[in-house]
Amino acid sequence: MKIFATYNIKGGVGKTSTAVNLGFLAASQGYRVLLWDLDPQGAASFLFRIKPRVKGGGKALIQGRRPVDAAIKGTDFDNLDLLPADFTYRNLDLLLDEAKRPARRLASLLAPLESDYDLVILDCPPSISLLSESVLHAADLLLVPLIPTTLSVRTLDQLTDFVGGFNGHRPDVFAFFSMVDRRKRLHTQIAHDLPQERGDFATAAIPALSVIEQMSVRRAPVTAFAPRSQATQQYAALWQEARDRAGLAAPAS
């Protein structure tokens, strides 16, 4: 089982869209996928029409009083399950602070699911906190969506330095450009140049397209309702790069 996380300190950069679409693409290839919507706003849960509610809230999960397994819901798509958001997730930092070895807590909560899933995707809220630290410790691959600006590249470097200071397990930081506006020269130039200069950038870039925004209206991944769209092609390319980079083996059948 591999763990991917979509993470950025900033909000509105395409973390949830990436988590949902990569989850769908992986599941449609036969991987058994669990997406954990860690954002108390519950955007991923909304997109899959699943109520953002977990019995006992985040507290029961973090304290281990309720197994993660029992809170999982099936989506409308084969092989793709969701661990829904809950409004109490806004307090996950406090709950983790009370737990033993808080930075390792998410990894240990997911360990019992090892044989049930090939891939877990953590969709993180925008913050830098004890929760994000726990996510970084659990993840094998950290997918970082960036809007192509000079400032966002600086943020990536800060994140890479932070992860580099970890003892033991460190996620592989893998950035990609998101919400690329082809009409802006700076966007196209940065999106073109940086992946060639640096090894931690995907060549696939997700364009800013209205079809992606329609996900919240259609309440489904764009890769499911618009399989021939340019957005789907780019998500598919990103998925392929992420899968290869993480060394995810082919699904069992």
Partner: protein
Amino acid sequence: MRNGSTEFVLDGEPGARPNVAQAVTDGTGAAFSLSDDGPARRLRRTWLDTFDWRLYRAGLALEQVAGRDTTELVLTGRDGERLAVEPVIAANGSRQAVTWPAQLGALPAGPLRELLEPVVGVRALLPVARAVSRVRRQRVLNSDAKTVARLSVDEMSVSYPAQAETAPRLSVVAIRGYQAQANRLSARLAAAHGIRPGATSPLEDALAAAGTQPAGRTRAIHLTAGMPAATALAAILTSLLDTVEANVRGTIRDIDTEFLHDLRVGVRRTRSALKLAGAALPDGMAARYRPGFKWLGDLTTPTRDLDVYLLGFGEMTAGLVGATHAELEPFGQYLHRARASAHRDLVRGLRSARFSHLANEWRHDLAGARRGRKRPTVGELAAQQMAVAQRRALRAGQRITAGSPSTDLHELRKKCKELRYLVEMFGSLHDPAQRWQAIRELKALQDCLGEFQDAEVQRDEIRAFADRMLAERSATAATLLAMGEIAAGLAVRQRTARQEFDGRFADFASPPSQARLSALARAARQ
């Protein structure tokens, strides 16, 4: 991913079947709606099992499901849960469908084969039913338009073992985390007119529609002590003839080695019954048929002996210390050639007029024998013969000393076999627990004697094989030396069995064990 599934059957003739959509959307409480889930699928289904239904008896069902693009093997458990699903790929890696019947070795190594191996053993898998299913799937949506369950209606046309249509099956599969809503939906469906819970598996439905049932075997014979011995014996022997005949086709087609084994068991038991109790049959019938069944037994022996060799070949080669597997390979090839030749002779015999004449006449005469004389009763016959057989086995064993030749142990083995056959043949006259205990004790001794004799026979045979291979120039010195190592291993096995014999026989001859056998013989009269 775990999903609960609830099964229903839709009653009524085509055109007058219950309206599932109405049953789903009607009713108070949770509001459900339906949405089509892709076009209807046509699936070609073949259920596989061994000839003696080992999978079914173990609560398993193995199904080959061929859709438009894929063919899969699906193993399900007693509650319909999927235990393994694998694409059909032959052991050589090609995507060509496996041709059934086939041994497990025809499947690639993997979880499915691992689950099947302990149950299927040396038997082949063969089609036990075939059908074409038309499956229409729908999603059940809640008020948020979220899928909470999947419905499928399966209309199945059976083509084997007979042409038949089954009543459509309706399945409700809960989406994970929505079991409560799926339960409410199932309750609504169960309350609808013409929809009833389905208690049987698709395989059972297919077979029932075709007018048969799984594990269809000859009915057990129930004896009562006062029944005329001739009537009882005729019933037992007819049942044994059924077994022999049921295994002829599989033996001729060489589907697996167990067909011949079971055929031989039928023949051997028939011969023992004729020898031990044949006097109860009218008009010298036993004496008339004994040569015929001896011929049949002898006909089957060469192939079976070679089967035993080949089945144990892997184990034999695994135990090699000095020689290599490659050096023994020519011996393996020789055994295969010899087995093919012996099997050809066997097939000729089983297709001969002599065999069909023997079987037909025997069945005819057994039917007449049922109306024979009233005495002795089967209780009297069983009690007398069991007491004699018990005494003979005990005496034969007591005569064996450290210096006895191996023929004395072979003789004892025969006596034990006769006693065991009698206990089993007249089984329904005894208390099952007592019978089981007696057979268990007898079997422990028989296994030891069997090991002793088999090792000796195989050692003698390997010498004969070596002579023939030398004469045919099909063996190198290295191969002969490797065969010598196997012969040495067999000698060790025989010596070990001989060392165990004294203890095993002492158990058999112990007063409690003998008292149990005597009590069985006495009880047969009552």
